[in-house]
């Protein structure tokens, strides 16, 4: 049961995460002083990478 829930969670997080990156990839233009396309890319990818890493971490601590 817990494995099935983890798999569903992984599909939701990874699937939607990749869709977010795909749909926002064209929105990385810097908008103001203090911003650049590389920092915009970092802000886009970092939270989703962390979410996917959390799924992987969960797999290692499952009872």
């Amino acid at each position: 049961m817990r494995v099935a829930v983890l798999i569903i969670a992984a599909v939701l997080v990874v699937g939607a995460g990749l869709a977010i990156i795909r749909t926002m990839w064209g929105m990385r233009a810097p908008l103001a002083r203090g911003a650049s396309s590389s920092t915009e890319t970092l802000w886009l990818i970092l939270p989703l990478a962390m979410s996917i890493a959390l799924v992987a971490w969960t797999a290692t601590v499952m009872p």
Partner: protein
């Protein structure tokens, strides 16, 4: 004479019923309604860390410290953002904008609250909780308010880390450390923030546009924002399943699904409906209830 007496009693009753203006303004600066939701996540995280009911005094002092910390952050935020607040309908009557409290006085007040929070949490909870609350202040004031809010459409995504600190403070107050369970609670609040805040931004698009704040709907429009609300709600729903995979009880799983699926349904309706305002309002208000109830479920599941 009777008339004068009535006037005096009415004035006296009014003075008793409503606190003096300065007190009211000092409380308003801390944004008590926002803090109440943060404190729900803090206290429920304490139950999760204890796997039962924590010490009552520890809960009390953590609430006091958490309020002071968040109140200090919110006050400093209003000092920095007073130019934005002045041009937004929603915030145009705040004490600093209205000139009832000077920016310097408000800044001093905010800093005093932050220092007091560190002392309360450090001496009466744990020093890790105190340090984490300070990290929360730094993230909210430094990362979000001073940097990201005015420069990127990802402002509320990355800035959401500040709002996700309170569960860590609650956990650290009980356990004295941060383990996997605490990180999960942080992550849940973090991924809840984009659909919550972008639903609000859809409602306040004109205000943000007037103030020149690059919220997603201002820069890339309402359709792009509705798509992101839906996708982030799916990420959030997936993330809320992880505690069960990691060992939480069936009570938690049922609660997470019962609360999360309506949230997903609202995000779908918001995505499909071109007249997004009503569904944005519904999604935003439900998101507040959702987070509070989800954390109550976490606490109940831990205490069972």
């Amino acid at each position: 004479m009777d008339g004068d007496g009535d006037a005096v009693s009415t004035a006296t009753a009014g003075a008793v019923a409503r606190p003096p203006g300065i007190v009211r303004d000092l409380v308003t600066l801390t944004k008590p309604r926002i803090i109440s939701l943060l404190l729900v996540t803090t206290v429920c995280a304490m139950f999760a860390a204890e796997q039962g009911v924590p010490n009552g005094w520890l809960i009390l002092w953590t609430i006091v410290g958490g309020y002071l910390s968040a109140g200090g952050s919110n006050t400093i935020n209003q000092v920095v953002d007073r130019d934005i607040d002045a041009v937004m309908d929603r915030t145009g009557r705040r004490p600093i904008v209205a000139g009832r409290i000077s920016p310097v006085a408000a800044l001093a007040y905010g800093l005093v609250l932050v220092v007091a929070s560190v002392l309360v949490l450090g001496f009466l909870a744990t020093w890790l909780a105190a340090v984490l609350s300070l990290v929360g202040v730094a993230l909210y004031v430094g990362l979000y308010t001073l940097w990201l809010k005015r420069t990127t459409i990802h402002n509320i995504v990355i800035g959401g880390a500040a709002g996700a600190i309170p569960p860590l403070v609650g956990w650290a107050a009980v356990a004295g450390d941060i383990t996997f369970g605490a990180v999960l609670l942080f992550a849940i609040v973090f991924v809840w923030t984009p659909p919550h805040f972008w639903a609000l931004a859809l409602m306040l698009r004109k205000d943000y546009s007037q103030a020149g704040v690059p919220m997603l709907p201002v820069v890339y429009g309402e359709h792009a924002t509705r798509v992101q609300v839906l996708l982030w709600t799916i990420v959030m729903l997936g993330t809320t399943l992880l505690p069960y995979a990691a060992g939480a009880g069936i009570t938690y799983l049922v609660g997470a699904l019962v609360l999360g699926l309506p949230f997903l349904g609202m995000a779908v309706m918001l995505w499909r409906d071109d007249r997004s305002r009503p569904w944005a309002a519904i999604t935003f208000h439900y998101s507040l209830l959702y987070l509070a109830l989800l954390f109550v479920v976490i606490a109940v599941d831990a205490a069972l």
